[in-house]
C-alpha cells in the first residue's frame, strides 16, 4: 500500500479542517494536532509548525520541542514507501539491527534519509507493540514479522515493482 498523494491544495484544506477543530485549545491538543498534520504531509515542515502554533495559541518553540522529543514525529519528508525498522528491545535482541543494515545497503541511503526520487525512506522506531513477531519491519502500514536479512531484497523488489522503479 502506498501513501495517497495529496496535492498541496488538498493538504492545506485538510490541515485547515484539523486546525479549526483544535483552535485555541493550547498545549493539550498539540499531540493530536501534530499527529494528524503529519498524516496529511508525511512530515512536519516549518510552515506546518507555524500554522499549528498559531491555531493552538502556543509558541513555535513549544511545537518544535514536542516534535523533537517524540521519534514518531518527523522533520524530514518520508518516501512514498517508508521503511520503518523496530529497534525496540525484543526486536533488537532478535537481530533487527541486521535488518536495518541490510535495508540501508540495498536502498543506498541511511536511516533518516529519503532516496533522491523520493520513492523510499528508512527510519527506525522503538517498539510497535508486536513483540511476538520480532524482529519487525513496517513498510507504510504493511507489517513484516520474524524477518531475516536475506528476505529483505525480495521485499524491496516487490515495492520497486509497485512503484515502477
Amino acid at each position: 500500500m502506498s501513501i495517497i498523494k495529496l496535492t498541496p491544495e488538498e493538504q492545506a484544506t485538510k490541515l485547515e479542517a484539523v486546525l479549526s477543530k483544535y483552535k485555541g485549545q493550547g498545549q493539550k491538543a498539540l499531540m493530536s494536532t501534530l499527529q494528524q498534520a503529519q498524516e496529511i504531509y508525511g512530515y512536519l515542515p516549518l510552515p506546518v509548525q507555524r500554522k499549528v502554533a498559531d491555531a493552538l495559541d502556543v509558541s513555535v518553540a513549544n511545537v518544535y520541542g514536542v516534535i523533537s522529543f517524540y521519534s514518531f514525529f518527523s522533520l524530514k519528508p518520508k518516501g512514498e514507501y517508508a521503511f520503518n525498522v523496530c529497534l525496540g528491545t525484543a526486536c533488537y535482541v532478535k537481530g533487527s539491527q541486521a535488518l536495518l543494515d541490510k535495508i540501508e545497503e540495498s536502498l543506498g541511503i541511511k536511516s533518516g534519509d529519503v532516496t533522491e526520487d523520493t520513492k523510499f525512506s528508512i527510519s527506525s522506531c522503538r517498539c510497535v507493540g508486536a513483540c511476538g513477531l520480532a524482529p519487525v519491519l513496517l513498510v507504510n502500514d504493511d507489517v513484516y514479522g520474524r524477518l531475516t536479512p536475506d528476505e529483505i531484497p525480495a521485499i524491496i523488489a516487490k515495492y520497486k515493482e509497485e512503484a515502477n522503479v
Binding site: 516549518l46 510552515p47 509558541s59 518553540a61 518544535y64 520541542g65 523533537s68
Partner: protein
Amino acid sequence: MNMVNLTIDGVSVSVPSSYTVLEAAKEAGIKIPTLCYLKDVNQAGACRICLVEIEKARALAAACVMPVSEGMVVHTNSPKVRDTRKNTLEMILSDHNVDCLSCIRNQNCELQTLSQEYGIRKVTFSGVKSSSVMDTKSFSIVRDSSKCVKCGRCVAACQKQSIGLLSFLNRGFETTVGPAFDISMADAPCIYCGQCIVACPVGALYEKEETEQVWNAINDPSKHVVMQVAPAVRAAIGEEFGLPIGTRATGKMFAAIKRLGADKVYDTNFGADLTIMEEGTELINRIKNGGVLPMITSCSPGWVRFCEFYFPEFIPNLSTCKSPHEMEGAIIKTFYAQKNGIDPKDIFVVSVMPCTSKKTEAEREQLVNKDGLKDVDCVITTRELARMIREAGIDFKSLPDDGPDSDLLGEYTGAGVIFGATGGVMEAALRTVADILENKDLPDFEYTQVRGVEADVKEATVNLAGKDIKVAVAHSTAAARKLLDSIKDGTNNDYAFIEVMGCSGGCVCGGGQPIIDAQTLMSIDIRAERAKALYEEDKILPERKSHKNSQINKLYEEFLGEPNGHLSHELLHTSYSKREIYPDSVLED
C-alpha cells in the same frame, strides 16, 4: 484562611494550606536549598536539590512543589537528604562546563554557591558531556548551552513574558534549551528583554559584552567619549557592590563613571525630559488633530520589538519618539558637537542601560543619521558598568558623591528619574501635558494611581484641562498582550494614552540589571524596592516637571525650535516596521 500545622526540623509552624513545604520552611526561618525554583516564575520540582525527608512518606519529596498537610513532620537536614543532594549536585556538575574562574557568573552563580555549601570537592561521575551550542549571533544575548543545567527557569521566564521563545528541545541526554530548530536567538522572534538572563542561575545566558569597546574608545585620544546613564541604573548598581537592594546610588555612580575616564558624563534623564517634551506634544497633537489613538509609548525597545513581531497592527499607535538615550545621542552628535566644535565622527556615545534590548536597538537602521553615524555607538548594561568599575580598581562604596557634568545636557528633573519605574513615563508625560493644556504650574502633579507593581495593567482616568482622558499602564509583554487583546476585541476602546514597558516593574528590573539569586527573591520584591529609590530622587529634586528643565528650554530656543518641529522630527523621531516570525528563511543555511 485555612491554616495547617506542621513541624520542620523540630520547629512548629502554622501556614496557609496553599503553601508548599519550601514556603513553610521559609516562614519557619529554615533555608531549603533550591536551583530550578524561582518565585513566581518556575515551580517545577525538576532539579531535586530541594529534596526533604517527610516522615511516613515513601520517598524524599521536592519541597518546592510539595504541598503542606496537617501534622506533617519534615526533616530538611538529615544524612539521607544531604547525601542525595550531594549526589544530585555531582550529577549536574558531571555534565556542566566547569570553567568557573573565567565564567561571567563567577561568584554570582547558584550552582557554584550550592557546590560550595555542600562541600563538593570532586565530581565522581565521569563520562561523555552532551554536545553544546554557543550562540553569539545577536547584539544582545549570548547563549552558552555548555553551562546550562536544564532547570527551565529561562523557559518559564520567557513563557511568563508570553513569548515562549525558549523551549526544551530533543530528548534525554540530548536535551537542550533553545529556540525552535535550535536556531540562533537572532533568527528567532526574540525581543531581547533579557528576562531569561536574570532568571538563569548559572552562566548559560548573558549579555553580549561590550566593555572592551568602551575601554578602547576611552583610551583612544582621537575619540571624544560621552557616557550617559539611564535612570534605573542608580537604583540597582549599588547591589553589585554589596549595598542593600533599593539603595539610591546616584552620587557614587556618577563619581565612579567619571573615574573611568570618559570625556563627559551625562544623565539620560535629560533625554527623558526631552522625550516628554516631544511625546507630550505628540499626544496633544494626536488628540487635537484626530490622530491614531491610543498613543503608546516607545521608550522600551523590548516592547517595541514585541509590537513589531506580535502586534504589528499597533505600529501606527506607537509614539514616533525615539527612546531617551537615542534622543540624547542624537543631540550629542549635533547640538553638543557644534557647541564644542567637535566633529561628530570623533564622538563616541556610550549608554549605560538596565536593558539588554537597548544593545540591539542601537543597531537599528532607523537610528543612524544622515551622515551614517549611529546616535549611540555602544550600549553597556548595569552589570557591565559594575565590571568596569571593579576592573578599574575603584572602591565604589567609599566614593564621595558626585553628579553628571553640568553643561548643556547636564540638568534633569524628577520626571526624568521616574522613567525607570513602571508608570513613570505616563506620570512624567501627564505632569507636562496637564501644565501645557492649562497653561499654569499645577500644584498636584503626583499621579500615584499609575504607580506600583501590584497590578500588571493599571488604568486611570485623569482630568486634563477639564477633559477626562483614560490612560493605561502595562508592564511585562504578557501584560501588554493582555491589554492589546482587550483593545482588539473591543473591550477597551476609549484609551487615549498607554505606557508599555517590556519588563515587569519597568526598567528597574530590566534584563541588564544586577542578578539577584532565587533565595533572596523569595523574600524581596525587587521591583518595588528599586522603584522606591527613583521616587525618592524625584522628591528631592528642585524641578519635577520636564518642561521646567532650563537646559531643555535652551536647547529648543537655540537649536531645535519647537517640540515636534522640523528639526525635532529629523533628529528625535523614528519609524518602525513589521517583523516576520520564523520565516522559512531561518532554516536556510
